[in-house]
């Protein structure tokens, strides 16, 4: 029996981590066990930690949280013989505008996430983990707690995981409303009960993370991809994608398309095909103007730049990022000044205030863009907005400053004519 999903799936999807979405009872351990659940964990239990990490490296899985760091390499940085115990932290803060996928992985397949975490536990010799979930997702925290309870009750967590003698405890931890807590070190401070401000690196979390213990931190989708990699082999997973960009990922398509939704595609999937064939094309028969390829922090792409394969390296080559998989589609009538303003309002609101270039930079950019939007802009403001943004790049404590600057620089450069037109108020409102 099928269950109602938030959006209809597309026949063009390649379903690896979303395989169980739509199955009745997909969130239960019984359904999980009936659909190859825990095969990967049992296999991993027979492997050495080195072999598990090697398999993840072979898969060329890269972090799905934003930066796209190679997962196997990250796992290899965690010192397994450190005198302090290792901790696993799962980033379920999901707050990058345009992103709504971790939600589905927790809602529809929590046991896949648990199994991925357990395999990571074997790989870095950790015996405890925390799933940090944004506060707004209270219903998901409850769902995750129920899945954890079931796993404990049936012996898939606790002192003897799946009868193998491996010990692992796993808990949820609620956020309380702060985009910055998605940044890994701010998240760790938040987990420790503090304000979510970023930490100086080094030391990196792998060496001194949560409570100064060696910490492995990955995104929900990253961990959820691990069972398939171990079960079917790293090479098979890698082969789904393009070189150095293994596997599949959940693409969150939103904005001006006929069929917005979350769809699983292999890395390297053509962007225009995703827009036209999966998402049913631009609404109302309008023309495409631009695409934000991976969440609001990514430089925007003009329509003519969108004929690309979606993998980390190809998108990087054209000056943007795959980020968190949040693809926002803009039609020809979109007001780019209003769009840039809304992005900056967000970053100004979410800057944690810890470092000055970010706190002051985002605030002044917001004020300038607001003034511009209200019709009091001056021609020279266009350059000032670009320059202030460029001055923030690389000069902030964490990447929130870059996240605010990058889209702004790209919008001002690529849509300068619209800013100029705005001086005489000819642009159509959103």
């Amino acid at each position: 029996m099928a269950k109602v999903l938030y959006n209809e799936p597309s026949p063009l999807e390649t379903k690896v981590i979303s395989q169980r979405f739509g199955l009745e009872g997909s969130e239960t351990l019984d359904v999980y066990l009936k659909t190859k659940g825990y095969e990967a964990f049992r296999k991993a239990k027979e492997m050495t930690p080195e072999a598990i990490i090697e398999e993840v490296k072979t898969s060329s899985l890269r972090g799905r949280g934003g930066a796209g760091f190679p997962t196997g390499l990250k796992w290899s940085f965690v010192p397994r013989t450190h005198p302090k115990p290792r901790v696993i932290v799962v980033n379920g803060d999901e707050s990058e505008p345009g992103t709504c996928k971790d939600r589905l992985l927790i809602e529809y397949d929590p046991h896949q996430l648990i199994e991925g975490i357990l395999i990571a536990g074997l790989a870095v010799d950790a015996h405890v983990g925390y799933i940090y979930i944004r506060g707004e997702y209270r219903y998901l925290i409850e769902k995750m707690d129920r899945a954890l309870e079931e796993a404990y009750a049936r012996g898939y967590l606790g002192d003897n995981v799946a009868g193998t003698g491996f010990k692992f405890d796993l808990y949820t931890h609620t956020g309380a409303g702060a985009y910055e807590c998605g940044e890994e070190t701010a998240l760790l401070d938040s987990l420790e009960g503090k304000r979510g401000v970023p930490r100086m690196k080094p030391p990196f979390p792998a060496v001194a993370g949560a409570w100064a213990m060696p910490t492995l931190l990955n995104n929900v989708e990253t961990f959820s991809s691990v069972p398939a990699i171990i079960r079917d082999g790293g090479a098979a997973y890698a082969a789904l994608g393009t070189p150095k960009n293994g596997g599949t990922r959940l693409l969150c398509i939103s904005g001006h398309v006929n069929k917005p939704g979350v769809y699983e595609v292999p890395l390297g999937f053509p962007m225009m095909k995703a827009i036209n064939e999966i998402a049913g094309g631009v609404r109302g028969g309008k023309k495409l103007k631009a695409v934000v390829p991976g969440g609001s922090s990514c430089p925007i792409l003009k329509a003519e730049e969108c004929d690309v394969a979606m993998d980390y390296d190809t998108i990087a080559k054209i000056g943007s990022m795959m980020g968190s998989g949040g693809m926002v589609v803009l039609d020809e009538d979109t007001d780019m000044v209003g769009f840039a303003l809304r992005i900056m309002r967000f970053y100004a609101h979410e800057s944690c205030g810890w470092c000055i270039p970010c706190r002051e930079g985002t605030t002044w950019l917001r004020k300038m863009l607001q003034r511009y939007y209200d019709g009091h802009g001056r021609k020279e403001d266009i350059d000032i907005i670009g320059e202030v943004s460029k001055n923030m790049l690389g000069r902030t404590f964490c990447a929130l400053g870059d996240a605010a600057a990058m889209p702004t620089i790209s919008i001002v450069e690529k849509f300068r004519d619209e800013f100029e037109k705005y001086l005489t108020r000819e642009t159509v409102a959103v």
Binding site: E94, P97, G135, T174, G193, W211, C252, G261, V262
Partner: protein
């Protein structure tokens, strides 16, 4: 302070889930769950959480000032959050928020005179592909049109009346 048995049970579990001596980690979850019951984070609650977690009241207070979901003043019984971030904006989120303000006669972070409903313009809440999105307390509503919004509000008012009777 006394809480319901459910909250007490949750607190007891929270204090046990972090490594030895790291009970400060329970501060944020405790505040969030307690707030659901007390309606706001008062000085008394801050002191209570500080005592239970073994930290100073100031260490709790500074946290309250940082997180957007923590409130020092009571919200409405139903807290209506309208997202106007980019994905919602493109499909009518900003218009929906304007509509909400008019419909309810209140602005950002204000509460209706009867204390039933409060409104907040919020940032992306992870419903971008099913925008525009509204969250009422902890319940998500997707593809919300102004008409659908009005129905939701009527539902809240009915629920409020039933409670009052």
């Amino acid at each position: 302070m006394t809480f319901s048995p459910q909250i007490e049970e949750r607190f007891a579990k929270l204090l046990k889930r972090y490594p030895e001596g790291k009970t400060r980690s329970a501060v944020i979850p405790m505040l969030m769950y307690a707030q659901d019951e007390t309606g706001a984070i008062t000085k008394e609650l801050i002191e209570e959480v500080a005592k239970r977690c073994g930290v100073t009241p100031l260490q709790v207070d500074e946290v309250v000032g940082y997180y957007s979901m923590m409130h020092r003043k009571p919200l409405g019984k139903f807290h209506v959050q309208v997202c106007t971030n980019i994905s919602c904006l493109l499909v009518g989120g900003a218009d929906l928020y304007e509509h909400a303000k008019k419909k309810l006669g209140i602005g950002h972070k204000e509460v209706t005179a009867d204390g039933l409903i409060s409104l907040e313009e919020v940032e992306c809440m992870g419903a971008c592909s099913w925008a525009p999105a509204v969250e009422i307390n902890y319940d998500f509503h997707h593809h919300v049109t102004p008409e659908r919004f009005d129905q939701l509000i009527a539902g809240l008012r009915d629920a409020g009346l039933r409670k009052a009777q």
